[in-house]
């Protein structure tokens, strides 16, 4: 059995391209849920879901409130709502104010996921142009989870990974192409 029960991923500017490279490289036999918070400019997340679905190794769906969090699936946060993980492992949504100028906010996803999974969580912070996710990554590490940050020099936009390293540090700082193999090793 692997030591981890879930993977959360946060990204912003450049995130779509990064996810399109990372998700196909995940092992198709992975049993953990992968939960993605990607800031998008569009009003509806269905386009992002469709684009990721074309290349992902695992099925990609929009995260649904109240639904149990299915494993072996990529769940994407809907636009305009914070996505939260409840302790009994289903999703909930909120329209509370923006956090780090963002809704959905990576901090909100990471912090609630850290509460729910504690040390059995892996968090991945990728390219992005603001500092959302840094506090969330710190919460993941405080709970004993494993934090991965994309190497800022390798990121399309380095603000988010740099903020993550400054605020939280990381258990692994890797170029994008090394992240999926690392996740496969941790979670299989």
């Amino acid at each position: 059995m692997s030591g981890y029960d879930a993977i959360v991923v946060g990204c912003s500017a450049g995130g779509l391209a990064a996810l399109q490279r990372m998700l196909p490289a995940l092992d198709a036999t992975l049993r953990t849920p992968v939960i993605v918070c990607c800031h998008t400019g569009s009003a509806d997340v269905s386009l992002l879901v469709e684009l990721l679905r074309r290349t992902s190794a695992l099925p990609v769906v929009e995260a649904r409130e109240r639904a149990p969090i299915a494993g072996a699936t990529v769940h994407v946060a809907p636009t305009g709502y914070h996505l939260l993980v409840e302790d009994d492992l289903h999703f909930s949504l909120s329209v509370d104010g923006k956090v780090a100028y963002s809704r959905p906010s990576i901090d909100v996803l990471f912090e609630t996921a850290a509460d729910a999974w504690r040390e059995r969580l892996v968090a991945v912070l990728l390219t992005g142009a603001n500092s959302d996710g840094a506090n969330g990554l710190a919460a993941v590490r405080r709970a004993g989870g494993h934090a991965i940050v994309q190497d800022p020099d390798d990121a399309e936009s380095d603000v988010m990974p740099r903020a993550g390293l400054d605020v939280a540090g990381a258990d692994a700082c890797l170029p994008l192409d090394a992240i999926a193999p690392h996740l496969n090793r941790l979670c299989l």
């Binding site: 649904r64 409130e65 109240r66 639904a67 809907p78 709502y81 914070h82 939260l84 993980v85 409840e86 302790d87 909930s92 949504l93 909120s94 329209v95 509370d96 104010g97 909100v108 912090e111 609630t112 509460d115």
Partner: protein, 279 residues
């Protein structure tokens, strides 16, 4: 158990026993974030110190309620929903001599005024009554004032047009300094009052209930009870409009509704094809 989780349980008990506000069936993750936010807002350091003030300081509970309902909305939010109300729901409501609408959880009133504009433009407003309720008195007062930040007006203007608006959104407000004030004629048939979905009961026979992004804060049991309350409040064939990402598939009471537009979460009370309960 985490110390903070214990403190939150004590907070919920304090609010219940001292003030009669029951948050025990709220979805825990967002409740926890709001309580943590209250600690920061009131600079109490710990939730236990917040609890001490909840128990001992008269008048403090008002600001706690304000912090726990965090009303965030915009006018004509999800314009396609208002377009569907305009095109699919209002033509049916037009057949009633008197139209009762319940806006449940109206927060600061943005949707109340959106609805009033919709009814006005459909020529139905003079025989409509909007009951706009919330459990947050401060939000109700703000809703009744109808004053909003001017910086929001541009987005709302675009929403209004996307929702099928026929004139210019600016016809409905006057701008002063950094604020807009909505035309007070829009509230001539609105009744604002305090109603708590957790504890209060049916108060009218409604033809349309709007309750968008309120039930997302409730656990399954409270969501189900509230949907039952809505079903009992609606006339047969009356409409219910929820937030576009809400999920009622786990609620037995949702079996009392049929889909009008499932993607937009618009339902009708009664009907033949009752919703199947999934899983």
């Amino acid at each position: 158990m985490d110390v903070e989780d214990i403190e939150i349980q004590l907070f919920v008990r304090a609010m219940q026993l001292r003030h009669g506000h029951d948050f025990s069936e709220y979805a825990p993750a967002s409740l926890k974030r709001r309580v943590q936010q209250l600690v920061r807002t009131h600079d109490t350091g710990t939730i236990s110190e917040l609890n001490r003030r909840v128990l001992h300081e008269d008048g403090f509970v008002g600001s706690v309620i304000e912090g726990l309902s965090v009303p965030v909305s915009e006018m004509f939010r999800d314009p396609q929903v208002f377009r569907a109300l305009r095109e699919k729901v209002l033509p049916v409501l037009a057949s009633y001599p008197q139209i009762n609408i319940w806006q449940a959880g109206c927060a600061q009133g943005q949707e109340v005024y959106s609805l009033a504009i919709l009814l006005e433009e459909a020529g139905l407003y003079d025989r409509s009554r909007i009951y706009a309720t919330d459990f947050n008195d401060a939000a109700l007062a703000a809703a009744s004032d109808g004053i909003y930040a001017a910086r929001d007006a541009r987005d709302w203007s675009r929403n209004y047009l996307d929702a099928g608006g026929t004139v210019s959104f600016s016809d409905y407000y006057s701008a002063r300094y950094d604020f807009i004030k909505l035309d007070k004629r829009l509230r001539r048939n609105v009744t604002f009052f305090n109603h708590n979905l957790v504890t209060d009961v049916v108060f009218c026979e409604a033809h349309l209930i709007l309750c968008r992004n309120v039930l997302i804060y409730f656990n399954n049991a409270l969501q189900d009870r509230t949907l039952g309350l809505f079903r009992d409040s609606l006339v047969r064939g009356g409409f219910l409009c929820l937030g576009t990402r809400e999920n009622i598939d786990f609620s037995p009471a949702a079996g009392g509704f049929t889909d009008v537009d499932n993607a937009l979460r618009i339902y009708q009370a009664g009907g033949t094809g009752a919703r199947p309960l999934t899983r």
